[in-house]
Subunit: 186 residues, 2 copies
């Protein structure tokens, strides 16, 4: 089959990706900061580790190094404008919590808060960091997970009809997920 | 809001995730191996780096160390049964290319082949690896991307109407992506 050949920089081949919002304490302001991060992945089951990529120039990068803990928050597609606003504002310039009147949910295992709007969030202790190219991979040991009741089924699988997650497509494009058509396969 | 508190092991909080199939050469068989990998993420823009997590016990882990290069292949939701079959078979026991009569696409920059069924694939040179918990993160320097014509728009964003991607939800559940409803926001 003929194919379009492109350079990596010209093609978001790796999207859609679940939008993730990283929450960290901002001690200097006695507040917190929340920033969308789309390059993120589980790294290990046992122990449970989750990694997020953050640019060294980002305000969140500095806060995360200082705080040593963070929440990862996942939001429904209906919260797209909130995620876009969190990305458009700089935590260096404004306190996003006050600016956007964000409702917070306290962590149980760590001091970083989560977004009340999240259908699920995980609390992570920073255990390692590695520089890869123009990003730092922060590795968090997942301490605790809090989910909105009914968002996940008894097997821990997201119920798309209860929480249609926000996915990022690249540029200013967003998506959500729908169950794949049944094909008789288990 | 009351929330369900769960341990990380009980909740696939990080799904859906784009299903990714890693392709590597299998020199001993003069063939190749393809394995679904759902824990994967871009790691850097410049240079373009892409990371995939693979269990040290997996056949692909050994092949990837030997070959030093790999393709990452992304498939449409319609190819769910192919991805499920690739995951159910062990490359240690069978040659999946012959067993499933896989049509291959040659890499241009590396020797590892790709799946002809993929709507896009990227060719990667293995440049680093790191052990995180029970997985190894293989870091690939993306050399080249080949996409099915029309799968991406002029901005390099996936056209969901042309290629509805396969997403993994956890357990035996799969999903696809749909454009998020417009809300007037850019």
């Amino acid at each position: 089959m003929a194919r379009d050949a492109t350079t990596p920089a010209e093609c978001y081949f790796y999207y859609p990706h679940l939008a993730c919002v990283v929450g960290v304490r901002d001690e200097a302001r006695d507040s917190a900061n929340f920033a969308p991060v789309t390059w993120a992945t589980p790294l290990s089951s046992d122990p449970p580790l989750y990694g997020v990529c953050i640019s060294p120039g980002a305000h969140t990068h500095r806060l995360l190094l200082a705080a040593g803990e963070f929440t990862v928050n996942f939001l429904a597609a209906a919260e797209r404008s909130l995620v876009a606003r969190l990305g458009a504002l700089s935590g260096r310039e404004v306190d996003k919590v006050r600016e956007l009147s964000l409702a917070l949910e306290p962590g149980r295992a760590i001091g970083a808060p989560a977004l009340a709007a999240a259908y699920v969030f995980a609390e992570c202790l920073l255990v390692e960091r590695h520089v890869f190219g123009d990003q730092t991979l922060f590795v968090g040991a997942v301490q605790h997970v809090q989910a909105r009741p009914g968002a996940f089924d008894d097997h821990g699988v997201l119920r798309l009809e209860a929480a249609a997650p926000l996915l990022y497509l690249g540029g200013n494009r967003w998506a959500s997920a729908v169950a794949a058509p049944a094909d008789g396969e288990k």
